[in-house]
Amino acid sequence: MERLIEILKDLHPEVDFSAATDLIGDGILDSLDIVTLITEINSTFDVSIPPEEIIPENFASAEAIYALILRLDEE
């Protein structure tokens, strides 16, 4: 989780990702951010996030993103 927060902080240093709960709805992460984030996650966590998983619920918060990573790793 710490590594994920670091990746998110690289994108938006001004945001408190441990508290933010609607990263998409609040306009914090846009499509360019999401793709950059996915590229980072894929190389850091050795998972592959497919396009069908790119839905607002999976990127709403740091916890949701982390849960997605764990689920993809498990599947």
Partner: protein, 529 residues
């Protein structure tokens, strides 16, 4: 049968009457028959293309669904016997098979669109190269372009991708599916709906609800006002400015940017208001396509607010898959290794952005002006992205200025003018000519000529100019007032004010709208896409 024609009003009234008269289980049948009758009015010859898109996407989706169901059943039955890695490998193999079926469906669906919409454009390019080599020119084919084909093809293809991704289950009933593709209020100019969202609405039963019907009617009326009073009036001056663009340079180009912004806003949002209002009367919620786009402070924000369903279509089905596909991920690793982390990680995203905007431009029309339009939008977005650190430094240095309302207004005006400038490629069509006309705004100082009488030559009388200005102000005021709560909602709590406003709007449309016997209200711009 345009939305603003008398025949459409009669057709819609009859449909609503039938819809609430038949047994509720049969309501969707009324919509299906009405949708095909509506499309028949556009031309019998168009019907084959709508049926083709429907049959192809229905069959392909059913094939993918059958494979997906078999895959799930197999995994479930063998859960204890198969290792995790074996299950993963099996699912990956099955996904690949579904992918081939999907590709077949996409080629068949987009292939038809490509042949009808882009053959003339492609042949024109080949012909230009051919004659450039000293040969005789050949005849460019002029193929039929069915009304709304870009919209219903995109809706059908989006559905196929959703079924492939298991984000939607394929519809078993062919006629229900046919209604999803052909639902007449949104058939020819969107919004581009998702199956999961719209089907639920279409196939549910709906009771007559006077409050809802009144609210829907108000929205239809507001759409008529925007189209007939704002868009169709502005169109007269826009047409004059475009046909006489050899003389209407300099300040006139700036005026065209303002007028065409008003025209396309009134035209497109007005049409969508009719779609959403009519659907509301029927009890069907259709996705919103606009969210006060001219209040955007950046191009990125503008594209989140303008033609929203098209933007999300391209983001979900083109930009994301392209950005995260294996070759692009490999390119990302390669570019990071060769160019460093900072540039390397942005490069693949930017490549995907350029490709997406190129296709967005092409979706709007088969012409260089549309491609350049798409790429210029892309350029502005990418340059803004690159300049973000600079903006951040500026914002940190002048926090009071940035927090002031004036700075917000400046950002909105900047975005509005920039988008308007690029949008003018839509009007002039010829890319070289458009660029030279933009340049003329810096060289031809003819503002005094425009103000001292030039405006009289643009096809509108003094009274019509005043009426257009006031109508635009009214649209602006309603948009501003509806920032926190839609004006219709507020009005519905005041029945007398509501009725007065509705009557006032009807009066304004009848008095000032480009409407009436002998006058054919112009086609909606987006119907032609």
């Amino acid at each position: 049968m345009t939305f603003t024609s008398a025949s459409f009003l009669l057709f819609a009234a009859l449909t609503v009457l039938l819809y609430f008269t038949v047994p509720r289980r049969g309501q969707w049948w009324v919509l299906l028959v009405a949708s095909y009758v509506f499309y028949l009015f556009a031309g019998v010859e168009y019907l084959a293309f709508l049926l083709y898109a429907t049959v192809v996407s229905y069959v392909v989706a059913r094939l993918m669904q059958a494979r997906a169901d078999a895959e799930d059943a197999f995994v479930e039955a063998n859960r204890d016997r198969l290792e995790k890695s074996e299950r993963k490998a099996f699912r990956a193999k099955e996904k690949k098979k579904r992918f081939f079926i999907l590709v077949g469906g996409l080629v068949a669906g987009f292939g038809m669109l490509a042949v009808l919409k882009y053959t003339g454009f492609a042949a024109g390019i080949v012909c230009a190269a051919w004659t450039g080599m000293g040969n005789e020119p050949f005849e460019i084919p002029d193929l039929l372009l069915p009304l709304g084909i870009s919209f219903y093809t995109f809706q059908a293809m989006g559905y196929l991708i959703d079924v492939y991704r298991k984000n939607a289950r394929a519809e078993r009933n062919f006629f229900r599916f046919a209604l999803f593709i052909s639902y007449f209020p949104q058939l020819i100019q969107g919004p581009i709906s998702r199956f999961e969202a719209l089907s639920e609405q279409l196939f549910a039963t709906h009771a007559w609800d006077a409050t809802r019907v009144r609210s829907g009617l108000a929205r239809v009326l507001w759409g008529f006002f925007k189209k007939l009073v704002v868009a169709d009036t502005a169109m007269i001056a826009v047409k004059t400015l475009v046909t006489g663009s050899d003389t209407y340079t300099g300040a006139y180009v700036f005026l065209l940017i303002l007028l065409y912004s008003a025209q396309i806003y009134g035209d497109f949002t007005g049409g969508i208001d009719v779609t959403i209002g009519l659907s509301e009367i029927l009890g069907i919620r259709v996705a919103e396509n606009f969210n006060r786009p001219f209040s955007s402070k950046s191009t990125k924000e503008y594209w989140r607010r303008w033609h929203i369903t098209m933007g999300t279509w391209f983001t979900d089905y083109v930009f994301y898959p392209l950005s995260v596909c294996s070759p692009m991920q490999r390119f990302s690793k390669f570019s990071r290794a060769k160019l460093g982390n900072a540039i390397g990680k942005r490069l693949p995203v930017y490549v995907a952005t350029v490709a997406t905007w190129f296709l967005t431009g092409l979706w709007h029309g088969a012409g260089w002006n549309f491609i350049v339009w798409g790429l210029l939008n892309c350029l502005v977005i990418l340059v803004s992205q690159e300049l973000t650190p600079l903006y951040d430094r500026f914002h940190a240095k002048f926090p009071r200025l940035v927090a002031s309302g004036a700075y917000g207004v400046f950002q909105m005006a900047r975005t509005f003018l920039l988008m308007g400038l690029i949008r003018s490629l839509d009007c002039y069509r010829d890319v070289g000519k458009t660029f030279s006309l933009w340049f003329s705004m810096l060289t031809d100082w003819n503002l005094p000529q425009l103000l001292t009488g030039g405006w009289r030559t643009l096809g509108l009388t003094g009274a019509e100019w005043c009426m257009l200005g006031l109508a635009i102000l009214l649209v602006f005021a309603v948009s501003l007032a509806g920032k926190k709560r839609p004006v219709r909602e507020w009005l519905s709590t005041r029945p007398v004010t509501f009725t007065l406003c509705a009557c006032g709007l009807i009066l304004l449309i009848l008095l000032f709208g480009a409407y009436g016997i002998g006058y054919d209200a112009s086609q909606f711009i987006y119907n032609q896409f």
